[in-house]
């Protein structure tokens, strides 16, 4: 993989937001993901959302774990500090960073392997602590970066690239986030920008733990049982294709459908995903109702998208810990060190 700098020539007619930035100011390096990867659409949605919200790019701290999805923070908001941490443990690093400076906007980006498999514990605890952040899982049901193993969100019956059938039950990240106490819970689809951008904007505006599960098809390893259109199948049946890493370039899957509708979306491998978009009159303030709604549609084989739950009164970790307003990283000796006189008193008490 190489480092590719994007040319920074701005066309004078490009539209500016309220703080004078063009959309280009929110871009990062050129993506090195497979052409057509859903993750790139999510990056584009993040760029759009931040631009529309007039966020100063450098005031965003973007943190991720390890995986294709976790590489994406390099591909947006080039002027902000990014941190590609270790596999599954981004939530703790984000928590610490947030404690050090509460005034930045924290964006956590993760994959379903990263958050639902190895990182399930940290995912749970960052939600229940109410860390103020926008946490996005780019959910493709597989491990992209390590080439096609199952993640914990994979459907039972899926067949991996290596021909293994998944027999485990899938974890539903949205249901978990609801249960764990996230104060903003949503699901989007990488191809539905019209829905995803407002969801990201709302999550950023939310003060507390905001979670968005974004279904994001993997071009390379989206294989399902019986699919004859899978890359693996094609490769196995085509002698001309060698065994090197050739990724099929595909066009991104996009959809556009109305609130309250259910549509079927064909994936790269020919399998079908049934998306159900929440209706505008859905009550997103009822955590238990959200759970029930989710489960009812799940039973019908539908994946509900939209803003499922929000607690507008949410309190974040800093509120729980009753910390001062000033960022900790600006406090100096005067605020932190009790001084020699106090120490002398402490000494006295220890004799």
């Amino acid at each position: 993989m190489t480092y590719i700098a994007k040319p920074k020539l701005h066309h004078p007619t490009l539209a500016c937001n309220a703080i004078g930035y063009t959309r280009r100011d929110y871009e990062g390096k050129v993506s090195t993901l497979c052409a057509g990867c859903g993750h790139d659409s999510i990056s584009a949605a993040i760029i759009q959302a931040c631009w529309e919200l007039d966020i100063e790019p450098h005031r965003v701290a973007k943190l991720s774990g390890i995986g294709c999805s976790s590489k994406t923070p390099d591909y947006f908001l080039g002027q902000s500090h990014g941190f590609n941490t270790v596999h599954g443990r981004m939530p703790s690093v984000l928590t610490g960073a947030n404690l050090a400076n509460r005034t930045l906007l924290y964006l956590g980006v993760s994959g379903d392997g990263d958050s639902a498999s190895i990182g399930l514990g940290q995912f749970a605890h960052v939600m229940r602590r109410g860390v103020d952040m926008t946490y996005i899982v780019e959910n493709n049901g597989v491990y992209g970066l390590t080439k096609g193993q199952f993640s914990a969100t994979a459907d039972p019956g899926s067949v991996s690239k290596k021909g293994v059938t998944n027999t485990d039950s899938p974890l539903d990240m949205v249901g978990m986030a609801l249960m764990l106490g996230a104060s903003f819970v949503a699901r989007g689809f990488s191809g539905d920008k019209r829905q995803l951008v407002p969801l990201i904007k709302a999550a950023i505006a939310h003060k507390g733990a905001a979670f968005i599960d974004v279904i994001s098809p993997c071009v390379a390893f989206n294989n399902h049982a019986g699919s004859t259109k899978s890359y693996e199948y094609v490769r196995e049946h085509n002698e001309a294709v060698n065994r090197l890493d050739i990724m099929p370039a595909r066009t991104e899957i996009t959809v556009d459908y109305a609130d309250g509708d259910t549509i079927e979306v064909e994936q790269h491998d020919g399998s079908v995903l049934r998306l159900h978009k929440l209706h505008t009159d859905y009550d997103a303030h009822d955590r238990v109702g959200a759970m029930n709604y989710l489960q009812a549609h799940q039973a019908k084989g539908e994946v509900v998208t939209g803003l499922l739950y929000v607690d507008p009164e949410a309190r974040d970790l800093h509120a729980h810990l009753d910390t001062v307003d000033a960022p900790f990283n600006t406090l100096g000796e005067r605020e932190l060190c009790p001084g020699a006189a106090v120490l002398e008193k402490i000494n006295k008490g220890l004799r």
Partner: protein, 612 residues
């Protein structure tokens, strides 16, 4: 057998049942002697369980000020029938046994060469108190009263201590004083005088009495740590708890009543170090406290912090390993695991305090060094210093002291056009400059990752870029050598070809052993190592001696390995003296082991038993 006679120089050991509430009574006993101006060195020896199992509290009374464990017991307070035989066996010939004689024991249960002091404690309690819990708790105070009579400890001193203890619970004051007198009166009237005694002295001076965990926690407060993330594990838990206690008192904004600290009890050690990494990356001083199993879990993050160059302070209160090992016993066996924590080529800075005073000082130093070096810094204490109160020099702080925040580039410097290459060695010390998130709208941002990169933090797997970084990290480690606390040399009164190197909690036992060896005609120069990487003085010390004993509390000679590796020294020159049964090393052990070796090398024969 002639009964032992000793004033201000003996060992008392309390054998109790865990959960019987004896801890505070035993501490009261130790403190009362301290208040009489006689140094004491107590040690908790406790099981890894909450209730029922045996627990001991060993108090060394030592006007000479020897704070290490001596070995042997002069007066055993045997309150646990479960451990009777073992406790009895530990008493020195001519020593004393104090026990609850409510149910008389046959003569076969005693030894002929000791003096037995029986007191019907249960009977006295049952006759005085109705409540079973009171019977239990006051029994402890009653035996303290009896011991005060036997050892001639001033009752007024104990009363004053009780008054301090129950300042906020005045209702408990009178009953405790009453129980104290009950014991004192009984012993004065019904027990024979013994040969051990405490006499008012002036040997404590201005020293303070505190455990290492509290001291390190206070050091973190003074050193400016604002984020603490931890996960409970013996023997480090009390460190985070002490940090909480001190912060509640010392770190609250007086105007708003809000906190200038954040303490998170994480879900595990991986999360606790992760939070410290996040806070360190974002410019706040942060630390975690743990023990061996926690270090094992933290390894991946430690490697990230090392390679991505993030300030991290880790306090490792060592206990017996490997695995769960001996969770409530002491050891110095995490040295290698910490010095090279995580995969790949890593080297980490270790600080090695000898007592609570240095726990305080080095905790603040660790926070400074982590920022200066942008790397993990380990404060390596152990259960022996961490969980036992030790007499030590009072804490000191210079109000003119400024935190060393290291090389953090500001917006002004970036505006002034200063070249910012996150991993560039501009100053030749291997330490690059960093920027904190949100420093500048257009300059100085970079991407932090655990993967290889070039000097400008751009992802790169090019060999030369990788080698540049790895070499720079070595250079940085070499810079650390001149920044860490220097070793302390104690020269023998006459030139000697023998030296000894040791570190940490071995210190007081070592000092006593050297004195004893000297009295037996064996002179030793000693060097107390206080940090890794080792300053050159360590190599010079070894070069200046024919033979150097390396005294440490682990099986494999871990300090020795680090020294051999650091300087390429011929291992044959370094004689390991190893103690690792989980109990704190004793002067007797050190003098005996070195004496035996020295004998083999043709040095004057000695009598290890001379150690007091």
């Amino acid at each position: 057998m002639k009964p032992i006679e000793a004033v201000n120089d003996f060992v008392v050991k309390f054998a109790n049942v865990n959960g019987s509430g004896s801890a505070s009574a035993n501490e009261l006993f130790a403190k009362s002697i301290l208040r009489m101006g006689v140094p004491v060195s107590p040690r908790n020896i406790f099981p890894s369980n909450i209730q029922g199992l045996p627990t001991w509290y060993e108090v060394r009374v030592t006007e000479a000020g020897h704070l290490g464990r001596r070995g042997g017991v002069d007066l055993m307070v045997a309150m646990n029938p479960q451990t009777w035989d073992a406790d009895l066996a530990e008493i020195e010939p001519g020593g004393y046994l104090f026990y609850d004689s409510t149910r008389p024991l046959p003569a076969a249960k005693f030894r002929a060469d000791i003096s037995v002091l029986g007191m019907p404690l249960t009977e006295i309690c049952n006759g005085t108190y109705d409540d079973p819990r009171q019977r239990q708790l006051f029994k402890n105070i009653i035996y303290v009263g009896a011991l005060a009579a036997l050892l001639q400890i001033d009752l007024a001193v104990i009363e004053a201590l009780i008054a301090e203890q129950y300042k906020s619970k005045p209702k408990l004051l009178a009953p405790n004083v009453h129980a104290l007198h009950l014991g004192h009166d009984y012993a004065s009237q019904s027990l024979p005088a013994i040969g051990l005694g405490v006499r008012q002295a002036d040997a404590v001076g201005g020293r303070i009495f505190i455990d290492g965990n509290s001291a390190a926690a206070l050091g973190c407060v003074y050193g400016g740590a604002s984020v603490c993330a931890w996960y409970p594990i013996t023997p480090s838990s009390s460190l985070a708890e002490a940090f909480q206690k001190y912060c509640q008192k010392l770190r609250v904004d007086p105007d708003t009543g809000r906190n200038r600290y954040a303490i998170v009890q994480a879900e595990d050690e991986i999360a606790s170090i992760g939070m410290v990494v996040g806070a360190g990356w974002n410019g706040a001083r942060a630390f975690t406290a743990t023990s061996g199993p926690g270090i094992s879990l933290m390894n991946e993050f430690i490697g990230l912090a090392y390679f991505a160059e993030i300030p991290v302070t880790i306090i490792d209160v060592q206990r017996g390993g490997p695995s769960t090992g001996m969770p409530t016993r002491t050891q110095q066996s995490d040295l290698l695991a910490c010095a090279h924590a995580s995969h790949g080529d890593t080297k980490h800075v270790l600080l090695l305090p000898e007592d609570p005073h240095e726990c305080f000082e080095f905790a603040a130093t660790a926070l400074d060094l982590a920022d200066r070096l942008q790397t993990p810094v380990f404060l390596m204490t152990d259960l022996d210093i961490g969980m036992n109160q030790r007499l030590c020099a009072p804490f000191a702080w210079d109000d003119a002291r400024r935190y060393d925040r290291g090389k953090v580039m500001t917006a002004e410097e970036l505006d002034a056009g200063k070249d910012f290459g996150r991993y560039k060695d501009v100053d030749g010390d291997g330490i690059p400059w960093r920027t904190l998130p949100a420093t500048h709208p257009t300059r100085g941002s970079y991407f932090t990752r655990g993967t290889s990169r070039d000097a400008y933090a751009r992802y790169s797997e090019r060999g030369p870029d990788y080698v540049y970084n790895m070499q720079r990290l070595l250079q940085k480690f070499d810079t650390a050598r001149s920044l860490v606390p220097a070793p302390i040399l104690r020269a023998a009164p006459r030139p000697t070809p023998h030296g000894a190197i040791f570190f940490g909690s071995t210190s007081p036992a070592m000092a006593e052993a050297i004195d004893a060896l000297q009295a037996d005609g064996i002179a030793l120069d000693t060097l107390r190592v206080r940090a890794y990487p080792f300053p050159d003085a360590v190599r010079d010390f070894i070069a200046a001696h024919e033979r150097v004993f390396i005294v440490e509390q682990n099986r494999d000679g871990q300090l020795r390995s680090l020294i051999v590796d650091a300087f390429g020294i011929d291992p044959a020159k370094l004689v390991p003296v190893l103690h690792y049964d989980g109990t704190p090393i004793t002067a007797r052990f050190i003098a005996g082991a070195i004496g035996k070796h020295a004998g083999a090398y043709g040095v004057t024969a000695l009598h290890a038993g001379r150690v007091a």
